[in-house]
């Protein structure tokens, strides 16, 4: 933490005073910029934010998320997206515009327990977020294992320009689908690769705040190979 503009903070810590714009996880009170979560504060030229090290997932429009179908009505499915809000997937999204509630049976396409890769269509806090799976890279997930990490660690798992996730995928031959909501699907034909990929993901979850993490993960992935 040599850079004096980055600092570990807990809720209530005064990060700085002055004419800064408060951004994520920060509030302005009486000219003081105060952290509202446990994390790392960053001061820019005209704004201050805190990168959280914990916390729940708040849906954001266009986010890719992994969801689990938990129930359905005659018109839509409800998906657990690891958030305080439940994702709503309208039947028309899957059946198309000509969806007929009396004849088209929802469970023929998706049932309780199914995992989906979905995108958040829109979200305002007054109602549950709308999600869609109508895209080439979205839809029901047929293979792989679900891994859960803290949503706040997802950027670290992806890495700058995708560097971290590429390191893991290349070393293990796994295909990893990362949901912004902290849910991740790891698919790999090779059980050893699968185990190593899961281990690497867990490492990032536990050590996201530490320096040189990419190197450490690389080392771990290489050292175990027989």
């Amino acid at each position: 933490m040599a850079d004096s503009k980055r600092r570990y903070v807990i809720p209530g810590d005064v990060i700085t005073t002055g004419p800064y714009r408060p951004e994520q996880n920060v509030i302005l009170e009486d000219k003081k910029i105060i952290a509202t979560t446990v994390g790392i504060s960053e001061i820019y030229d005209d704004s201050v934010k805190v990168i959280p090290l914990t916390g729940t997932y708040i849906p954001k429009s266009q986010d890719l998320v992994i969801g689990k179908i938990v129930s359905h009505s005659s018109l839509s499915w409800e998906a657990d997206i690891n958030s305080c809000y439940v994702g709503m997937l309208p039947a028309s999204d899957v059946f198309g515009r000509n969806f007929q509630p009396d004849t088209d049976e929802l469970t023929s396409k998706l049932k309780k327990g199914d995992l989906i890769a979905a995108r958040i269509v829109n979200f305002d806090r007054s109602r549950d977020p709308l999600i869609t799976i109508a895209d080439r890279d979205l839809g029901k997930i047929d293979s792989g294992e679900l891994v859960k990490i803290s949503p706040s660690k997802v950027p670290r798992l992806i890495g700058k320009h995708g560097t971290m996730i590429q390191v893991i995928e290349m070393a293990t031959n796994a295909t990893i689908t990362i949901g912004q909501n902290g849910l991740i699907v790891v698919a790999c034909d090779n059980p050893v690769g699968l185990l190593k990929a899961k281990k690497a993901i867990q490492m990032v979850d536990e050590q996201a705040h530490m320096a040189n993490l990419t190197d450490k993960v690389k080392e771990m992935l290489e050292s175990n190979s027989e």
Partner: protein, 244 residues
């Protein structure tokens, strides 16, 4: 409260209390953050002989639905003592005292948590007293605060708690069980250390206006001491080995 015949010397001529402490000393306090696997946030505190576990879930869906608020998240808090936590076994069913303490702790935390960002959800705080000693509600509040931070619930400040009181006509910090039974006043306090606001305050006993002022000031100093320990607990979990 007070008045019981006791052989106990609450304060001797050297200013030493019945458990060996000075008037401005707290009992031994340790806090560990992140001790449970299922809860979103958790903390375990030992405050004197109090052993208390706090767990937080949320923000999450509210059941029953009619309890949800369309404009803001709600905070719920349950304070419960295990049957084996006190000298005479306690019935597992919640008593009126436990329910009141749960409410008071909730109202101490409410000013700190920022739930306006999560309409129609609830943040649930569950505190379980595994072993009780005097001042369990303050210890419970200290653990609950750390558990909320551990869960990443946005807060404008931590809440730190400690009791002050009066024994042998002297204002003391952190009242233990014997002092609570045989002393003259017990004042539990919860305080937001950066915003400098008192969010929990109760009084059992009689204080003159001057004593009251001194008691509040002493309580605030105690809360500040506990704040440092809460900070360290979060640092140990989240910032260990990261370098500063």
């Amino acid at each position: 409260m007070g008045g019981r015949e006791s052989n106990l010397v609450l304060l001797d001529e050297n200013g030493i209390r019945c458990d060996g402490r000075r008037v401005d000393e707290t009992r031994k306090i340790t806090i560990k953050a992140g001790v449970l696997k299922n809860a979103n946030g958790s903390a375990y505190i030992e405050f004197g002989d109090n052993k208390i576990l706090a767990g937080v879930f949320g923000p999450r869906d509210v059941h029953p639905k009619h309890m949800a608020d369309t404009d803001t998240g709600i905070l719920r808090c349950r304070y419960h003592m295990s049957p084996f936590s006190v000298t005479e076994r306690k019935n597992p069913a919640p008593s009126r005292r436990e329910i009141e303490i749960g409410k008071v702790i909730k109202e101490a935390l409410r000013p700190a948590v920022m739930l306006e960002k999560f309409p129609r959800t609830a943040v649930d705080v569950f505190v379980e007293v595994l072993q009780a000693d005097g001042g369990s509600r303050c210890a419970a509040l200290d653990a609950a605060s750390v558990a909320l931070a551990d869960a990443g619930i946005p807060m404008r400040d931590m809440v730190s708690a400690c009791a002050a009181g009066k024994v042998a006509d002297t204002i003391i910090l952190d009242v233990n069980n014997e002092e609570d039974q045989a002393g003259q006043a017990d004042m539990p306090m919860g305080y937001m250390p950066n915003l400098k606001k008192i969010t929990l305050l109760q009084l059992d006993g009689v204080l003159t206006p001057d004593e009251f002022k001194k008691c509040v000031e002493t309580g605030i100093e105690g809360c500040k001491l506990v704040y440092e320990i809460q900070k360290q607990a979060l640092k140990d979990k989240f910032f260990a080995n990261g370098g500063e």
